[in-house]
Subunit: 337 residues, 2 copies
């Protein structure tokens, strides 16, 4: 299992990124990581300051900044670490790529190569969300901000596979994010997407519209939405979580005395459990290969998790299942793009 | 100050709705409420089972269901309480209308009459959100799911007036909800809206894009967004709040002993403080008159608050200020619709 890691991507790169890789190969004897980036900056964080058989360096001289315009950066910096990761994936030298760098550049790199799985029109980013009924998946959270109905339908198919095989849900339910539960609600995109779901073999798993509050209630296993709404939803959840936990901390610090430390310790445990930046990253589904996008603030733990997650998706043969299911669920009369 | 209240609107109507009106007139000696709905159902909740000088009943025979298709319901039920509220506002018999009923029908009722303030292209719903830096306003949260750039620009103008006069912010800052902070991010709607803000006299208060996590951080005083994203954001915030508070309750119940009750009481206080359904409702801005839309689950307290809020907006002459500001801030070359 060979995975390319963008060593230059992330707010704290390359130090903790490289350290995460060192931890990941220590935890998984079959894992080999190719660290993509500037050799001189990467080496000091490696054991003995040297690459090894299972921790190679693929040197490149450039990196995309976190706030750079993705398309422009990829064009102006041909030897950037994100582009080199995609190149390694494209040449089948690695099974997966992982980056905590510029999300837009990761997606743009994939779109430029167009190495999509068979029948996939546009890849989408899937994110796992904690809910009152266990984890659900929301797709797309930012790859495609102006999708067509058939893109959203395919996100449903890919999200369903993800929920079944990664979240281990039996016959996952699917809902379309909308402004109300009634069928006639929302914009044209929502209405046309509903029609596609109903005409498909996923019709029995598609429960129709869900609303914003249904996401964390776990009303469905798969929430389908466009990349704009999904991205706002993901970051908003993070912001609300931060807001409430800070408010709760402050409140309990004021009212508690003897059990203050016990309460604060428990709350810190919750923060760790639901910390959006420590999770294993979000897969860009629909790509021929595994591509995991991590939070920009990822530390070593998050990168270690993301590498383990990437390896598990490859082992689960998630992509083969997506190709099979897309063939089987193509809705009748689905228009060509 | 005369306000029409949709007595038939809301999950618990008409009982607590009418009780809220009784409380509101008791608290504000200048307030008179016209209860719009079925006389036989309304009267029992009035003091002495009778209408009075300050608690009139405007009888109508129909009501729009919470899940009915708005446009169809308004058409099929000509004597419905929401339509009658709008009629009273249109005939200048009341200064404001308040409903906890079908939001879509409230908006559709207003759009049908087209009694917009001068220069307003489309009304938008403004919602106050708690943040780490005090309350902010987000507009639109559901009146207009497919807006044009000039609609969003006007939401910024109206939101700015709201933040200045209702939230008492000096020179409020304005941000556009987007998927990233860089200028080139997002869909065409976002890019074109930015151009309008920059060309306007609000240019110095417009700080550019904000992301989902910035909302509850209070990064700006006014968050401008389309009604689809705004509606999902509002309900999502409610859902995350519910999810986290339930999780925190459970955790603290497990780990605390002697101070368990103290902690739970403090948390209940927080829930009350941020309870999305107990707030004073959200104004539909841009209407010639005051229109307040309440959460469907509103009880008497929420309705009492909403009536007080409606009266305060009328007294603040919010609409006169909106008309003045819209004239002053029209961006150069703003296209006709």
């Amino acid at each position: 299992m060979q995975i390319a890691l963008d060593a230059m991507g992330g707010d704290h790169a390359p130090g903790p990124i490289v350290t995460g890789a060192v931890q990941a190969v220590a935890a998984d004897p079959e894992l080999r990581v190719v660290l993509v980036g500037d050799q001189a900056q990467i080496a000091p964080s490696l054991p003995g300051g040297q690459p090894s058989d299972r921790l190679e360096i693929f040197h490149c001289s450039q990196a995309v900044g976190m706030d750079e315009s993705p398309v422009e950066a990829l064009r102006k910096k041909p030897d950037n670490s994100i582009g080199r990761c995609w190149q390694l994936l494209s040449e089948k030298k690695v099974e997966a790529i992982v980056s905590a760098g510029n999300t837009g550049a990761m997606v743009a790199g994939g779109l430029r190569l167009r190495r999509f799985l068979k029948n996939v029109r546009r890849p989408g980013i899937a994110a796992v969300m904690p809910t009152l009924r266990g984890p659900s998946v929301i797709i797309d959270v930012g790859a495609n901000v102006s999708p067509k109905p058939q893109h959203l339908f395919q996100y449903g198919v890919m999200g369903e596979i993800f929920a079944k095989h990664v979240l281990k849900k039996d016959k996952p339910t699917i809902g379309l994010m909308n402004v109300g539960s009634e069928e006639a609600k929302g914009h044209d995109l929502a209405k046309e997407t509903q029609t596609l779901f109903k005409a498909s073999s996923l019709g029995t798993q598609f429960i129709g519209n869900v609303e914003g509050r249904d996401l964390h209630r776990g009303a469905v296993d798969v929430v389908v939405t466009d990349g704009f709404v999904g991205n706002v939803s993901l970051k908003l959840s993070e912001g609300v979580f931060e807001f409430i936990m800070k408010t709760v901390f402050k409140e309990l610090q004021t009212v508690l005395n003897v059990e203050r430390d016990t309460a604060l310790k428990a709350l810190h445990g919750l923060v760790d459990r639901y910390d959006y930046s420590s999770h294993g990253g979000a897969p860009l589904l629909g790509i021929d290969g595994i591509c995991i996008i991590c939070h920009g603030s990822s530390g070593d733990k998050a990168i270690k998790n993301a590498l383990a997650v990437a390896a598990s998706y490859a082992r689960l043969k998630l992509n083969e299942r997506i190709v099979q299911e897309l063939e089987a669920t193509l809705p009748v009369g689905m228009p060509e793009e």
